[in-house]
């Protein structure tokens, strides 16, 4: 499928992103080698203007990454029309061993690029540039990550062949133990939903606490960060295993991708958008918390934290409402 239009588009976006990040990394290496805030040499002046280029490049990189993730899911859905046994994107992702890893790398990529931008935004608000070395080491590390993504994506597309027989998200005939799950195993619905609402409630409380309290201690910060990551993973599992089949009104259809389709009014877009924004805002708050004591960053960090806590709280509530609607509508009214 490498020379299918979708495969080509994915490859072109990846090459564009590689061009952007490689150019930004060139600046990063120069900054790491020659940055000297006390100097007024021409190299230092050039570097001070080049950091604008690198930040713009990474911002475009983030935009490209989000589009690439969306396109990857839509492409997999399109490929399902050519692969035997595939009925939707899940079947295409499972058609070889690279599909799911590429998807996970792309999802993580959105956060990785986003966190860099948060660091950069904080950094440029202080005249001391206190985060400059950290953020450019970070940027240099993004390049091999992107290369890994491109290699895996190319292998996925190259090995995806219409002759491959795959299985999809709805398995109609199977043992009693496997009630239709394929992408993920079976879980107890009650346990999952209880866990999901508990973690969501903890995070709501955390956001309210963050909005009222001035500062969190480092262990609470780390704990909060881990809780956000746990919530992200748990939400993806809940959407796949429980919520999706209530949206489709089909007990054996467990798929996190078909909810993006027009048949289901594209409900997946607001669900995933709010989830990503909530988790990203939550993590941004934590990351900003670690920068609080750096020179010149106290005020910008406070501003960012207030904004991110509000955004995380709002997005979290909308996400929980959107994702729970069909589940509770079925339980209460049928």
């Amino acid at each position: 499928m490498l020379f299918n239009t979708w495969g080509l588009a994915l490859s072109i976006i990846s090459l564009c992103a590689l061009f952007l990040i490689a150019t930004a990394s060139r600046t990063a290496i120069r900054v790491l080698r020659f940055w000297d805030p006390n100097s007024d040499s021409s190299t230092q002046i050039e570097l001070e203007s080049e950091i604008w280029l690198s930040s713009t490049l990474v911002m475009y990189g983030l935009g490209f990454q989000i589009i690439s993730l969306l396109l990857f899911v839509l492409a997999a859905d399109h490929f399902s029309g050519m692969i035997i046994g595939a009925m939707c994107a899940t079947g295409s992702f499972l058609a070889n061993s690279y599909g799911i890893p590429v998807l996970l790398i792309k999802i993580a990529g959105v956060f990785i690029y986003g966190i860099w931008i948060i660091l950069h935004q904080l950094d440029i608000q202080s005249e001391h540039y206190p985060l400059i070395k950290i953020k450019y080491w970070y940027l240099v590390a993004i390049l091999p990550y992107l290369l890994l993504e491109i290699i895996l994506q190319t292998r996925y597309l190259a090995e995806l062949s219409p002759e491959i027989i795959t299985s999809c998200c709805a398995v109609f005939f199977g043992g009693k133990e496997q009630l239709g799950q394929n992408l993920l195993g079976t879980y107890s619905t009650t346990g999952l939903m209880a866990g999901f609402y508990s973690v969501a409630a903890v995070l709501c409380g955390l956001c309210l606490y963050q909005l009222s309290a001035k500062k969190l201690s480092a262990p609470i910060n780390i704990g909060a960060g881990l809780t956000w990551i746990l919530f992200f993973i748990l939400s993806l599992v809940v959407i796949t295993v429980v919520v999706s089949s209530y949206i489709y009104a089909m007990p054996y259809h467990h798929c996190p991708f078909c909810i993006l389709k027009a048949e289901y009014h594209g409900l997946g877009y607001p669900i995933f958008l709010t989830l990503f924004l909530a988790v990203f805002s939550g993590i941004s708050h934590i990351i900003a918390g670690f920068c609080n004591n750096l020179p010149g960053l106290a005020a910008p960090v406070r501003k960012l934290q207030t904004l991110s806590a509000r955004c995380a709280l709002a997005m979290l509530c909308i996400f929980v409402l959107l994702s729970s609607y069909h589940f509770w509508a079925y339980i209460l009214f049928t």
Partner: protein, 393 residues
């Protein structure tokens, strides 16, 4: 804070638009060429999409399972008595023996598809005719043709025509009905007749057919029934409807991908042009940036200005290119690219394409046209933003 951020960018967008309008010729040229590139890429995508949809629509009429006998890797005819050996399989609703093949007309170089069915199956078939009726049982030589076959045979108002058998003797036929144009992609080159007439035309022995069309009661069981048939008749090739659909999508996808690869050269040339145009700043443009910097614009403001300029050019070109591509596919049958996607047969079906543009298609075209353009304009934009104002004025 958010309001002032939005207000700032609205102001920059306002300035970017006025700045673009001041250099109409340069920016208009870029937008025009970009629209052309998007038109080519989008036409391919829309055309592929429409053909896939059309193929899906007409494959509704195709049998669930088609059985063909193979000998030495080639398809050969099989006796219609093989139907009896499949009688024991539950879930088969009906088996129709068919004779079909191609007939080359030396007079005009056209290849007709001859389809022979038992008369009672023809009567039951869901064939839509624009006028006339279907061939009847005890009336040999009756056929249904499409309007393009009628034009190709130059029949005019006449009803009768003849075709050469393989031994050059002539078989005569009478037109009793004309297919509707809606299924032209399938029936455009078809001549439908009774089974016996088709056997006679192709000189097939009595009781021989080219394939068996099996319809099943429950479509979900198609693959299981196909596997059972394969066990009973191991020398046959078994094609299921879903396999044919997937093959169509694969073929269209591959051909469209191949076409897109060729068009990538156009895209690459355009990206180089965009880079070059964005890099080559005139003295006047440099003065403008210097003045903006004196007025208090920072590097990131000028980068934002350039970003909005690129977005404006890209949006105008994207909309123009898409509109032209839609018109090309919907009203001109995608005539520039149809030969690449459909083949070069003399009797090409006249298509009535209705490109159903989805969000996914738009995102796809956007990804491989607008994103490379945006990527190409960042570095020139930054170079223009870091101009030292005092060296210009």
């Amino acid at each position: 804070m958010q309001t002032s951020f939005i207000q700032k960018h609205l102001n920059i967008l306002d300035y970017a638009l006025s700045s673009l309008l001041r250099r109409k010729l340069k920016n208009g040229g870029i937008a025009l060429i970009f629209s052309l590139v998007i038109f080519l890429l989008a036409s391919f995508q829309f055309l592929t999409q429409s053909l896939e949809t059309t193929a899906e629509k007409v494959l509704v009429f195709a049998p669930d399972i088609t059985l063909q006998r193979l000998s030495a890797g080639r398809q050969v005819s099989l006796p219609d008595s093989s139907i009896g050996s499949l009688a024991g399989i539950f879930g088969i609703r009906q088996i129709i023996p068919r004779v079909w093949g191609y007939h080359f007309d030396e007079k005009n170089g056209a290849n007709y598809t001859i389809l022979g069915l038992p008369a009672d199956s023809i009567q039951k078939a869901e064939v839509s005719l624009s006028h006339g009726r279907l061939p009847q049982k005890k009336k040999p030589g009756e056929v249904v043709i499409s309007s393009s076959v009628r034009a190709s045979l130059e029949l005019g108002e006449r009803k009768s025509f003849t075709l050469f058998r393989s031994d050059l003797s002539q078989a005569s036929f009478t037109v009793v009905g004309i297919f509707t144009d809606n299924t032209d992609i399938l029936t455009g080159d078809t001549i439908l007749m009774n089974l016996q007439d088709a056997r006679d035309l192709f000189r097939l022995g009595d009781g021989m057919v080219t394939d068996l069309a099996v319809s099943v009661t429950n479509p979900a069981e198609t693959d299981t029934i196909a596997a059972k048939i394969s066990g009973i008749m191991p020398d046959t090739r078994i094609l299921t409807n879903s396999q044919i659909r997937k093959t169509y999508r694969t073929v269209f996808g591959w051909r469209s991908g191949f076409g897109s690869v060729c068009l990538l050269t156009a895209l690459a040339s355009f990206v180089i042009l965009a880079w070059d145009k964005a890099s080559g700043l005139s003295q006047e443009e440099k003065r403008e940036i210097a003045i903006l910097k004196f007025l208090g614009f920072q590097i990131n403001d000028i980068l934002a200005l350039r970003f909005w300029e690129s977005i404006a050019v890209a949006c105008v070109s994207f909309l123009l290119g898409l509109t032209l591509a839609y018109i090309h596919v919907a009203f001109f049958e995608g005539s520039l690219f149809t030969p690449i996607l459909l083949g070069w047969s003399v009797l090409r079906p006249s298509l009535n394409l209705d490109p159903a543009v989805t969000f996914a298609d738009l995102l796809l075209v956007f990804s491989y046209s607008v994103l490379p353009y945006l990527a190409a304009t960042i570095i020139p934009a930054w170079r223009s933003a870091v101009i030292r104002a005092e060296t210009i004025i």
